[in-house]
Symmetry: C2
Amino acid sequence: MSDHPAHEETIRSERGFFGKLVHVRVDHVRMPSGKESVREVVEHPGAVSILALTENDEVILIRQWRHVPGAVMLEMPAGTREPGEDEDATARRELREETGYEAGETRQVTRFYSSSGFCDEQITLFHVTGCTPVDRDDDPDERTEVVLVPRAEIPRLVEEANREPRDAKFLIGMLWLSQQSS
Amino acid sequence: MSDHPAHEETIRSERGFFGKLVHVRVDHVRMPSGKESVREVVEHPGAVSILALTENDEVILIRQWRHVPGAVMLEMPAGTREPGEDEDATARRELREETGYEAGETRQVTRFYSSSGFCDEQITLFHVTGCTPVDRDDDPDERTEVVLVPRAEIPRLVEEANREPRDAKFLIGMLWLSQQSS
């Protein structure tokens, strides 16, 4: 795509922030007109989002405290990839850690940027079926409450999301599931 | 929600990065167990995403260069709020600037965090109908190519998004539209 007329050439990069989870890179670019500009890029390792269903066709959701909105949010299980970890393994691990359910069959549905204008985080959505409850270690600092929602109630959940702020990956999972024939 | 058992108390905050578009705040928190931890918060002014249809029921999309993926992406028109600007005004202004279409009727559909785990960006999705072409200023550095897609082809576009990376707000708009009766 580098010959596209809108292509921007990166002249140099600086490190803006180096954190535990996210980093910021500041790229100086030359735009098609020849003018220079700055692009701030938030670097993130990427994540998986897990649309998991039990053998009774219930969607396995969690409620957990989110520091950014300062509130408890209803979400799908999700997690950040560990270095070298295969995404399917991340999905199985996070589902078990966050909900106490063992994944049955896993299938990659789609992959998307959470906010491609300034952040390189890509999220892979997995559809996981035939999940069964197993034992769960109880971490006092990861107090996720598991919520089982019958699949037929998903359209109502999407409606509720119109009144209460939710996360993009939650909406994508719920909207995608609503379109599938059960 | 501050009495929720998973509530984290912020002890102090530091500025990690102060950029042109994004900032990073580093919050030191006390978790429910009493242990301390760090939460990195990417601060963003928020944006609108515009699901615009012409009077002929075509969806108005754009292709534009995105620095982060280093590629041209198919997207809905979108834009960042200017200080003090009303979101409806942002949607009308950005639609005109990016596509050369004048908004007809605007309606707020939903609002979501792009990635609530580490970023406070909230996106408001507008459904805009009855859009009509007007004149457009040509900015050489904002080379957006306008693409009109008949509404009936939207399910195909969502399928394509399974193979090529796209943006969360694009997927949410397309999936939402696919569910509406025309």
